[in-house]
């Protein structure tokens, strides 16, 4: 557990991956371009001395991930967000079955989310049922820009997507994480569109829509939609590293998010292995608004707010009782391996 000025902060990383972009797994040049694109994001926002080599970055083993997340990374729990990219990678990039290998070994540490693609029709619906049954998923990650045959993407407000969202509601899969990021190919339809989230959120008030990367480069459209739709949340992956590289700009973005969404609807995420939690959590916890920003936005980024962003908000969405969870984590395999039990113990009484 992270300690901030003597106080505990329970960290749930809302966005982690266990991917395989090894050369052996790539079947289309898009797969190579994709991991290189990720790698540019990695090097662009990582302190020089913490950068991985491209070879390390292509595929990392379970030990490294556990060490980076829990050994040195100040993280208590992580939520796996699958990204399939079956057209690019033979076995997929970051599938639920791969993530669940690690999740099953450390069920107290990982939440495993599923995914769907409405272009898969009836078979996709059956697959969603399987994910619920086998892994009891409480959320799905959606990658609307994913290729499939001739199609270069899909929309969350299509009839087909609604059928899947209906299915999620039936199965009790409440958390819909939609990736909204830059477009690689000339599909200018989705180049600035977070509008499909709006229609879906209105139609499914029982579901929570977490827009990953807070819609950047469409933060403005995202915030405006989130201001009207109480079930829309912002995932901080990609925005979080600003805390390290450009703290003032990070303050502005947090100012906007706190102004339009409020402190209960923002979720921290490292996007691991895009960025490592160790320096990222530290940067997030050290981040402050300038006095001018506090005045301009009329919001605070204080310890209570950070606690919500770093873990409490995700805990609420995923039915995690943090106090109860600390008891479980205290003597799980990870605490044993990294000698963390003390962190989760009873707080020492000062007498």
């Amino acid at each position: 557990m992270y300690q901030h000025e003597g106080e505990d902060v329970f960290v749930i990383d809302g966005h982690v991956h266990w991917w395989d972009a090894s050369k052996e797994n790539i079947k289309h040049e898009g797969g190579e371009q994709f991991i290189r694109c990720f790698y540019d994001y990695h090097t662009g926002f990582t302190p020089d001395e913490r950068e991985w080599s491209l070879e390390e970055y292509r595929k990392y083993d379970a030990d490294r991930m556990l060490q980076d997340m829990f050994g040195s990374g100040h993280t208590d729990m992580g939520i796996f967000q699958p990204t399939y990219l079956n057209e690019f990678y033979k076995e997929g990039f970051n599938t639920i079955d791969r993530c669940a290998e690690l999740g099953d070994e450390h069920p107290s540490r990982f939440v495993v989310n599923g995914r769907f693609d409405p272009r898969e029709g009836e078979a996709g619906l059956r697959e969603l049922e399987r994910q619920k049954e086998e892994y009891d998923v409480k959320g799905v990650k959606l990658y609307t820009a994913e290729w499939r045959g001739d199609s270069k993407g899909w929309r969350l407000d299509s009839d087909e997507a609604f059928e899947y969202l209906e299915k999620c509601a039936d199965l009790g899969i409440r958390n819909i994480h939609a990736h909204k990021g830059p477009t690689i190919r000339p599909l200018n339809r989705d180049a600035f569109d977070v509008a499909d989230v709006d229609a879906a959120a209105t139609s499914f008030p029982e579901l929570n829509f977490i827009v990953e990367h807070v819609g950047l480069p469409r933060l403005d459209d995202f915030c405006w939609i989130a201001a009207q739709e109480p079930n829309v949340y912002g995932g901080l992956a990609v925005a979080a590293p600003f805390a390290e590289t450009r703290p003032r700009k990070f303050g502005e973005i947090m100012g906007e998010l706190l102004y339009w969404l409020g402190e209960d609807r923002i979720l921290y995420g490292s996007d691991y292995a895009l960025w490592e939690p160790e320096w990222l959590v530290e940067a997030m916890m050290e981040a402050e608004l300038t006095p001018e920003q506090r005045e301009e936005y009329g919001v605070e980024l204080d310890l209570e707010t950070k606690r919500k962003i770093m873990g409490e908000n995700a805990a609420r969405l995923y039915d995690i009782d943090i106090e109860r969870q600390k008891e479980i984590l205290q003597d799980d395999g990870i605490s044993e391996r990294f000698d963390l039990a003390d962190q989760y113990g009873e707080e020492a009484t000062a007498d």
Binding site: C37, T43, G44, A191, C223
Partner: protein, 262 residues
């Protein structure tokens, strides 16, 4: 078309012209962003080479910048032909050929759905809103009240709007007529930048049109002033935030192994 004997255009003038071309997503000049690598002038022909921060920057945005650079140079009387060369982009061949041969975006990228001009309009409207925030902020700082600001019309402000010409310092203030009795003097730059974008988009055209507008382009009801103003701030935060992403990706590209071992 008959041509008079002229001095060939110089590199400084070409740069000044290119300053008017913006990255549509960031609303900042491609010169300021350092996208322009090289200029070649051969009598009435000008060639511009440019590179974007990543090889996968939106082809639609790359297209717009290339077209704008071409047009802004070809409208100069001393230029008869401008050629634009984009480098190190996934779609540089299509973009260079398309732009220099004056093809339509939709014909070059037949998988694109939606119109590049519509995309441009959406981004321009965001840029207008962000510029409006800065202009309105300058007026608030000068002591104007929201109800006075929403009543201003185009004829109430006096600024030169040709960004290509240099100005002396005396002109760096704009006069804003609040009503018959009161005029104030404010920093000209934010007002000028706003008026340029708003008139280019026809959000404001007649002299009696309301100067400032909602995101939809309508006059601002006084009770919506605050929300509209905050949305302008948000549009600006988005652009400068994305600017930081582009800048970091650009640095990663120049320094990183992905560029070296390609």
């Amino acid at each position: 078309m008959s041509r008079h004997q002229r001095q060939p255009i110089d590199a400084g003038t070409v740069r000044d012209r290119l300053r008017r071309v913006t990255d549509p997503e960031l609303d900042r000049s491609i010169v300021e962003l350092d996208y322009v690598d090289e200029l070649r002038i051969d009598d009435e022909s000008v060639e511009v080479e440019f590179t974007l921060p990543t090889a996968w920057c939106s082809p639609a945005f790359a297209w717009m910048m290339a077209v704008d650079a071409r047009d802004v140079l070809e409208t100069h009387p001393a230029v008869s032909e401008a050629t634009i060369r984009l480098h190190d982009h996934m779609h540089e061949a299509e973009i260079n050929e398309g732009v220099n041969d004056r093809l339509a975006f939709e014909d070059v990228f037949d998988e694109a759905d939606g119109d590049v001009e519509e995309t441009r309009r959406t981004l321009d409207e965001k840029a207008r809103l962000a510029r409006q925030y800065r202009a309105v902020d300058a007026l608030l700082e000068a002591g104007l009240k929201p109800e006075q600001i929403v009543r201003l019309t185009l004829e109430d402000v006096d600024v030169e709007t040709d960004s290509g010409t240099s100005r002396d310092e005396d002109e760096d203030r704009a006069v804003v007529r609040v009503d018959d009795a009161l005029s104030i003097c404010v920093e000209a730059e934010p007002i000028r930048r706003y008026v340029e974008k708003a008139t280019a988009l026809d959000v404001v055209s007649a002299s009696t049109d309301a100067l400032f507008a909602t995101p939809a382009g309508d006059p601002i009801p006084a009770d919506e002033f605050e929300t509209v103003h905050k949305r302008g701030r948000l549009a600006g935060t988005n652009m400068s935030g994305q600017g930081h992403v582009c800048e970091n990706l650009g640095e990663a590209r120049i320094g990183g192994p992905s560029a070296a071992d390609d």
